[in-house]
């Protein structure tokens, strides 16, 4: 590896990491603002203009607070758990392409932390790792409320990860028909969503040429299942049984304070953003969109894909906030019923259906 190549890799990682940190700080503030608006309040207003520095102030406060270690904790795991929450959360976003590649000299800089050819598998693996953080935090705290939160977290994660994975499989299979063979690389999946449906399907071309070639249109059921599953996966309302303030104090992070609590908090919001980013990448075409390369200066049309990516992601993030402000928490049995009796059979049925359609289109009808 030459020095310029190394520089490009370092630049990609730093850019992605920086973007994620800044956006997470904004997301925490944004959620408070959005939820406040839905409750006829103002939300934070004092720190900075419209309270935008409130998260920074909160973070600084947590940074200077004492990290209390209760006497009965299992110390090694207790210290490890917050890191297990934060590190996978950041690694997930490293897979997401968030802008059009551009050139510095002869080096191409892809705006993506790393383009693994097993990107989606890596994402699934990392989002499963986040469950370990909840389980280990709850168990090692040596206290009953965190333990209850951890037990719920395990069951919830197992139930919803299956639906999440099945919905992803449907998209990957569909995506395989849109290009040269199947792929798990997110950059490749985004590339295959460029253009409009009019390019692919000649019939109805006058209408379809205005419909972007996003996976959401053929895979709408998979999108709905995927979206419900990522809400459960990130432990957000109405699936936030893991935290459940009203019943379990703070759930798995009851015994955590100071910086260790801040890391769980950070991980939650990083997870929200990166999961929404993945949903936007898989179903809403990622950074694809009209860039007007001929009409606009190169700088602006280079920025535009990132803007499209952020708009799509924030649309989904807003729905997260909206649901949180609206819906009451599900009961535990309702959560399990929804997961095992609705989402998983639904995802399986959709997978079979979309497999059949793909197979018939590829190999022809069985009688022909």
């Amino acid at each position: 590896m030459t020095w310029p190549e190394f520089g490009v890799i370092a630049l990609r990682v730093v850019l992605t990491f920086g973007l994620l940190l800044v956006l997470t700080i904004i997301n925490v503030w944004l959620e408070r603002k959005v939820v406040a608006g839905m409750q006829s309040r103002m939300g934070p207003m004092r720190a900075g203009p419209w309270g935008i520095l409130q998260t920074v102030a909160d973070g600084l406060k947590l940074f200077f607070k004492e990290s209390i270690t209760p006497r009965k904790v299992e110390l090694g795991l207790y210290v490890l758990a917050p890191f297990l929450a934060v590190v996978p959360a950041f690694l997930i976003f490293m897979m997401v392409p968030w802008g059009r590649p551009f050139m510095i000299g002869e080096q191409e800089v892809a705006l993506q932390g790393a383009d693994l050819n097993i990107g989606l598998l890596f994402i699934l693996a990392m989002s499963s790792m986040a469950v370990y953080a909840v389980v280990l935090a709850g168990w090692s705290s040596g206290s009953k409320y965190p333990l209850l939160g951890a037990v719920r977290g395990t069951a919830q994660a197992i139930s919803y990860e299956a639906a999440l994975g099945l919905a992803m499989v449907a998209v990957v299979m569909f995506s395989a028909t849109q290009g040269d063979g199947g792929t798990l690389s997110l950059a490749e999946i985004v590339d295959r969503q460029a253009g409009t449906w009019g390019d692919i399907i000649p019939v109805l071309e006058p209408i379809l040429q205005f419909v972007p070639r996003w996976n959401i249109f053929p895979q709408i059921v998979a999108f709905i299942i995927f979206f419900i599953a990522i809400i459960a996966e990130t432990n957000r309302a109405p699936f936030d049984l893991v935290e459940a303030e009203q019943e379990l104090v703070g759930g798995f992070h009851t015994e955590y304070s100071g910086m260790r609590f801040a890391m769980f908090f950070l991980a939650e919001y990083v997870n929200i953003f990166s999961m929404c980013a993945i949903a936007a990448t898989l179903f809403l075409g990622g950074w694809n969109g009209p860039t007007f390369d001929d009409a606009l200066p190169g700088f602006i049309s280079g920025i535009l894909p990132t803007v499209y990516f952020l708009i799509k992601t924030y649309l989904l993030v807003f729905i997260f906030f909206w649901l949180r402000a609206t819906l009451p928490r599900l009961r535990y049995d309702q959560l399990m019923t929804l997961g095992w009796k609705r989402l998983i059979p639904g995802a399986l049925a959709w997978l079979v259906l979309s497999t059949l359609v793909i197979a018939f289109r590829q190999f022809g009808m069985p009688w022909s």
Binding site: G37, M38, Q39, S40, R41, M42, M45, A325, T326
Partner: protein, 222 residues
């Protein structure tokens, strides 16, 4: 699809509330309930019970006669009054005695205004000031010097250097507290028997009790 429509019903409520709350757009701010407190304050109700003030007559004499009725009426036992005979050459109050010691413990006070009701000379009234937090328990015991209004009718503020101190609030009395009270006579109902602001009283002295009792409610307007 009952579940989905129920969820959508709920989301419509929160969604429209947000559009009406956020200060942009046609409905901007119409549902907002927050007040940016120290920067903007709300209009207080007219009968708001705030900090007490000891009033004076227009000629500068103190109204308090040291009778301790307020201390007796106080359900929280937070008022401490001791009277003293007036110096005949330089009287402090028009009567025989005046309030020599007058202390209110604001940590105990429940702001019920029973002292105001009990006062026979309307010497103690309440203002609209409620920002009375202190960092010291002793500062919460208000003495005569802090409670008594100045000779020009202004009211001393405990922390005049505080940037948030609103001196005007001290000039607003909790008007009409006794509009329906006093002697319990129907003739007093709706009668504003005192002015709404502290400061030297410049209204005609009240008629004697016999004259008021003899009146019928219809005469009160005149």
């Amino acid at each position: 699809m009952g579940l989905v429509s129920e969820i959508w019903k709920g989301m419509k409520v929160t969604g429209t509330t947000m559009l009406k709350t956020i200060a942009i757009g046609p409905f901007g701010g119409s549902e907002l309930v927050t007040t940016q407190y120290p920067k903007e304050t709300r209009q207080k109700p007219q009968r708001f019970h705030g900090r007490h003030v000891l009033n004076r007559y227009p000629d500068g004499m103190e109204k308090c006669i040291g009778c301790q009725l307020c201390a007796g009426a106080c359900p929280a036992n937070c008022i401490h009054v001791r009277g003293m005979d007036n110096d005949p050459a330089h009287p402090t109050s028009p009567g025989e005695r005046f309030g020599f010691v007058y202390e209110i413990n604001m940590l105990r006070c429940i702001f019920c205004a029973l002292c105001v009701e009990a006062c026979p000379t309307e010497a103690i009234t309440m203002t609209h000031l409620f920002e009375m937090s202190t960092t010291n328990r002793e500062d919460a015991i208000y003495t005569r010097d802090e409670l008594l209004m100045n000779r020009d009718g202004s009211v001393p503020h405990m922390f005049p250097d505080d940037p948030l101190a609103d001196l005007d609030e001290l000039l607003v009395a909790d008007g009409w507290v006794r509009a329906t009270a006093s002697s319990g006579m129907a003739a007093y109902e709706g009668v504003e028997a005192w002015q709404a602001t502290p400061g030297p009283a410049d209204w005609a002295p009240e008629p004697s009790q016999e004259i008021l009792d003899a009146r019928s409610p219809g005469d009160l307007d005149g």
